[in-house]
Amino acid sequence: MKKPSVFLFTFVVIYLVFLYAPIMLLPIFAFNDSSIIAFPLSGFTMDWFIGLMSENTLHRALKNSLIIAVTAAVISTCFGILTARAMARHDFIGKRPSFGLIMAPLFLPEIIIGVALLIVLIQLGVSLNIWTVILGHILICTPFSVSILYSAFNNMDRSIEEASLDLGETRFGTFRRVIFPLVKPGVIASILICFTISLDEFVIAFFLTGVEPTLPVYIWAQLRFPSKLPSIMALGFILLLISLILLAVFEYYRRKSEKLIGKS
């Protein structure tokens, strides 16, 4: 193997330090026995984690976030399945424009989506609650779901579906017994990624949340109190761990999906 040049090596080190050093501060200060975020460290403590257990507003925010994330993930994945299937197998007038519009939220600034939705909802007289946040999150999660599932549906050998029909199975039966099992890893990957996106989404949740804050909105609110900062560090550390686990599981299912479809 070639030895990397000094310049490239330095560049990579600096890049990684900037990327991960701030994140490394989370576990360090989450266990630091001082309410001031500064070096030198003063000692090891679990107090910040224990303190989180008695924060009622945090528990409410967490519960809201979980409800929103699970609901948004499941519904966007259902939409994703329908869209990806339609795009991969059916031809209809306006296919390309509608595909483009469904995928557009990937590229639109979230603040635009948040403000636009807020105006529409207020005009319609809808009161803001967790359902309005779910609505916004479905809008931004669906494109992710479609892009994960499209390749699964598109790469599937058409003759596998035809074989099922030919062997006497109905169209619905074919979906249930052949198509769904083959795209299932993709569906699980989609649910996980949508869950993660919804869980830490801040802008849309901030606009549409009403009186029931989500976890990111709660964290943002707590930042006004310097004394709460170590608790936020502890909470951040927990979220980081959960995210890493979810990401690993997602990657496992994504690879499994590629393998299954690739073999067919």
């Binding site: 050998d157 003759s159 030919d166 062997l167 006497g168």
Partner: protein
Amino acid sequence: MASKNMMNEQKHEQMVELSNIRKSFGKLEVVKGIDLNIAKGEFFSLLGPSGCGKTTLLRMIAGLEVPDDGVVVINQQSMNGVDANKRPTNMVFQSYAIFPHLNVGENVAYGLIKQRLPKAELRKRVDAMLKMVDLDGYYDRPSYALSGGQRQRVALARALILEPKVLLLDEPLSALDKKLREQMQDELRRIQRTLGITFILVTHDQEEALIMSDRIAVMFDGNIAQLGTPQEIYDKPVSRRVASFIGVMNFLDGKCISKNKTSIVVDVESLGQITFPRDIIPDDTSLDQLCVGFRPEMFTILYNKKDKAENEFSSIVKNVDYYGDMSYYTLSLPNSDKDIMVSMRNTSGRYVYDLGETIRVGWRSSSLLVLN
């Protein structure tokens, strides 16, 4: 050709009847009004180059494609408006289309599960079918752990277990290597004879069609160019195109110089004037430009000095293709720069000629075919 006698006895028992079947994809018409009857218990092949419409025709019989015009009748019942899952046909796909998430037994049982048989009965029938295709004991094998030949057998078992009236095979052997392909050809023939099911095979491999079929339809550009037994198609191709698609054929230019009710005289390039019976070519054919063809084995290489033939000429060997059992010599015709191919069986002790050697070639007018 064992079922040939049976075919004659049951002439009226047609299994598949196609009338005026048409299909276009966009502006391209791929099947142009095909009429075809296939008898019960027949091994029938649709043979043609890729893009000739043979697979589309097969898919319309299966119900996977809907004809723009015409009627498909299977077992005396019109299939118009009948979906693939309600037809008495099953298909072996070119890619085999094995369900990758199911094991061998589950793949074979896939269609049978709809019949809600008791578990023991289901298992018994799957095992019997696996035995039939020589996959005894493979029930629990995952489908990704199968070789190409084994996948092919699973696809076959999965289709046959539903006891279809017609089994459709879409280039089932094209992905297999030569040895395995020959073995599967024998096996398909054996299974077809044992079960007596009508088989319709789509293939671009003329050798495969000749070996396996009771009858062959040669297709070009969405039409059937010739329909007949393998021997009819090989011995009496109706056109230059069919002749050059099936086996090797040498072509010479010809011109009719006189004709009467019983015969025509053709001036054949390099071979001279030859008299043929009038019915060697249909009445409506233009006689100005004829094509005379012969197969490499229809001319004889006069190996011994005392060998004699009706007509003969000498030629220099320009090229040798040695196949072991046969040698194919490229020779030039007398007074012509056209090359022809003549074959000789390498019976024991026979010498294989080398480049540049002179050999004598014998032929007679009955070796020749007249084509338009």
